[in-house]
């Protein structure tokens, strides 16, 4: 139920990535009251819709409540303030680094990252090289391992910008997936404009008097400067935030989405908490923003579903039989079980709104104190109440 009848539901947005701003705008346009916590130093955008409140310096210390009625606990000065929200959307983005170990090459006067090259184009420090008619840039993707989608696309844009500044550009790649219309357009234009694409399996890079030499299958390519894309890695706030919000992180260190049937984009292991953009996927900017739209739609559908009567089984604890072993708290993959004091009894309690009805807790409880309400199992099959667990 809407906790504040007659007033729009709130959504809490966490993160400062461009995806977060995009999500804030889309949610505000849908009429939600948005509480936006960038969680890091970020430039506040000039104009935000009136139903968005931004808390720039706020530190998140916890998340109380459950799906439909969360409360972001925020430290502001001495006080802890509670910001309500029916759902949470996380858009931290990712972090960048120059993978020197992978390339075995330090950055230097002849080795630049794409952002560095763009910066030099902008402040005109490449001029000396570019006025030289044959200035030749070698852009190398997938060297020592697959380049991430985001930085590969950035390198393509950089290659194009250099070419448009009349440099010769050769782009080496091993595995370039041109799997979207914008990327197809970009690479086609680049070819038309004269960027040379060169596929390789193995290459050898040497620095010689006055240049970079690349021994590729088609022969030796000599250039003036090597452009090596950066690598992406999980945003440093991913793990601490995951721990605070009891969210799963995959082996790759990014937030893990639970969207097995492809119908709930961005849903995490907790009901009502969603992740969007590059904090859970490798994507270029366009794809990341497209993901935000999918996730906002999925979050919107969830908020609408709160108006419907709940369906499906949920776990219910027979609280006076609970021995407070915390097994259900540990094994519930959806952070729906906790041990709390209620009505004078300290025992396990499952918040219906947070429960997925998977029954994992019930199968684990050593005293069979948990039953799945709304799930009919033939009575002869039930692990009967009198039975002693044999595990």
């Amino acid at each position: 139920m809407n906790p504040m009848p007659g007033r729009p539901r709130g959504v809490i947005v966490l993160g400062a990535a461009p995806e977060a701003l995009c999500a804030v705008r889309e949610l505000a346009a849908l009429g939600y009251a948005v509480a936006w916590l960038p969680l890091e130093e970020a430039q506040a955008p000039a104009a935000l819709p009136p139903n968005v409140a931004i808390y720039p310096a706020a530190e998140l210390v916890g998340l109380g409540g459950y799906a439909g009625a969360f409360c972001a606990q925020v430290r502001r000065g001495e006080a802890i303030e509670c910001l309500p929200g029916a759902a949470v959307l996380i858009a931290l983005g990712n972090a960048r680094c120059y993978p020197q170990e992978r390339y075995g090459l330090p950055l230097g006067p002849r080795v630049l990252t794409p952002p560095q090259a763009r910066q030099r184009l902008k402040d005109r420090t490449l001029e000396a090289l570019l006025s030289h008619r044959k200035a030749h840039f070698l852009v190398m993707l997938d060297w020592g391992g697959e380049t991430s989608r985001e930085t590969a696309v950035e390198a393509l844009h950089t290659a194009r910008a250099l070419r448009q500044n009349h440099a010769e550009v050769t782009l080496f790649y091993r595995d370039l997936k041109v799997d979207s219309a914008p990327l197809e357009r970009l690479t086609r234009r680049m070819r038309e404009e004269g960027v040379v694409f060169c596929r390789y399996i193995e290459v050898e890079v040497r620095f010689e008097e006055g240049g970079v030499h690349i021994a590729a299958p088609d022969g030796l390519v000599r250039g003036d400067m090597l452009i090596l894309p950066e690598a992406v890695q999980p945003h440093p706030a991913t793990l601490p935030l995951a721990a605070l919000l009891k969210l799963r992180v995959g082996k790759d260190g990014y937030f893990q989405e639970v969207n097995v049937r492809q119908v709930r984009p961005g849903l995490t292991n907790r009901k009502g908490i969603y992740v969007a953009g590059r904090c859970h996927m490798d994507a270029d900017r366009e794809a990341a923003l497209e993901d935000v739209s999918h996730v906002v739609a999925s979050l919107d559908a969830f908020l609408h579903s709160l108006d419907e009567p709940p369906s499906g089984p949920t776990a219910e604890v027979e609280r006076d039989r609970c021995i407070r072993c915390l097994t259900c708290v540990r094994t519930c993959p959806h952070a729906a079980a906790e041990v709390v004091e209620r009505e004078g009894i300290t025992a396990a309690y499952v918040e219906k709104a947070a429960c997925w009805g998977c029954g994992i807790c019930a199968a684990h409880c050593p005293v069979q104190a948990i039953a799945l309400k709304g799930q009919a199992v033939p009575s002869w099959l039930a692990p009967t109440a009198q039975g002693v667990s044999i595990r």
Binding site: V258, P333, W380, A382, I390
Partner: protein, 121 residues
């Protein structure tokens, strides 16, 4: 309950349950000596469910759950498989055939495979 059943299926409703629904949508029905029990997730299969089924007279018990990485409750399928292994070890120990309990991974789109498995059995 006295049950002279050939096969009892403990099924994750999210995968096996969907596969069965797809099979039934094509007008097919389960053989009469097969009992099918939908559970919300493979993770809710209890060791006791399996043992009760054997106690009630099922010749064989199948536990059907999602493939690795496809469980909506993240590790429900792994719990299901572990419990099957536990019961198999127990059956081995007491001299009953461990092959009476089987774990199988399935996805919602595997109606045809499900049909083939049922026919083979």
């Amino acid at each position: 309950m006295s049950m002279a059943q050939r096969l009892l299926v403990l099924a994750c409703s999210r995968s096996a349950g969907e596969a069965l629904a797809a099979l039934e949508a094509t007008g097919q029905t389960l053989p009469p000596d097969v009992t099918w029990v939908n559970l919300p997730c493979g993770g809710s299969v209890d060791v006791l469910h399996i043992l009760r089924a054997l106690e009630a007279g099922a010749e064989k018990v199948w536990v059907l759950a999602c493939y690795e990485g496809a469980c909506e409750s993240l590790e429900g399928n792994r719990w299901a498989e572990k419990r099957v292994q536990w019961v198999q070890a127990l059956l081995q120990e007491i001299g009953l055939g461990p092959e009476r309990v089987v774990f199988r991974a399935i996805s919602p789109t595997m109606a045809a495979d499900l049909k083939a498995w049922l026919e083979e059995e």
